[in-house]
Amino acid sequence: TQLLEQSPQFLSIQEGENLTVYCNSSSVFSSLQWYRQEPGEGPVLLVTVVTGGEVKKLKRLTFQFGDARKDSSLHITAAQTGDTGLYLCAGATSGTYKYIFGTGTRLKVLA
């Protein structure tokens, strides 16, 4: 059973700071997704990365898929209070494209 470990588990930062969240596994993934989940809501898809080494940008968010497709990172520039939430990565293995969710990183951005 593949396991997706996210780090850090919790992160509390001041508005305007930068941060990076990591998603690591010993398994190779054919594609990887990042979601944000706010309290009382379901996860919302932010991005899907499919190629090793791929970098995607979504406004202040930068997503990178590792060259070996075993890890990914999410970098937020100049965090805002609206970025507060639970960030989840989900990886799909080759052949199945069935997504397994990671353990999550809970981010709190303070004003």
């Binding site: 594609s31 009382g40 379901g42 996860p43 989900a90 494209y97 397994i100 969710f101 353990t103 999550g104």
Partner: protein, 117 residues
């Protein structure tokens, strides 16, 4: 476009009681998922339907959990009897394409928060 609807939003029951959750996916979505999200963890897939057929229920505790998707639209998830460890948020998600495709987007409902006392 209306999102995925779930009800009830909250449910408190005692252990050994039964409970049912309902999900109405986005209109026209072929694939429907039920997930269990325990506090502090990521969602864990319980069951995946494609239209009204089960694609994957390998992680569904079949001795107490059951799910159906009649007519390939709405779905219900039932727990009978409930245990303390079933306390969690139960999320329903739907996808416009058949599950198992590379860039599939799952649209999640708000979830049902279950507390078993």
């Amino acid at each position: 476009e209306a999102g995925v609807a779930q009800s009830p939003r909250y449910k408190i029951i005692e252990k050994r009681q039964s409970v049912a959750f309902w999900c109405n996916p986005i209109s026209g979505h072929a694939t429907l998922y039920w997930y269990q999200q325990i506090l502090g963890q990521g969602p864990k897939l319980l069951i995946q339907f494609q239209n009204n057929g089960v694609v994957d229920d390998s992680q569904l505790p079949k001795d107490r959990f059951s799910a159906e998707r009649l007519k390939g639209v709405d779905s219900t998830l039932k727990i009978q009897p409930a245990k303390l460890e079933d306390s969690a948020v139960y999320l329903c998600a739907s996808s416009p394409i058949y599950g198992g495709q590379r860039e599939e987007t799952q649209y999640f409902g708000p979830g049902t928060r279950l507390l078993v006392l």
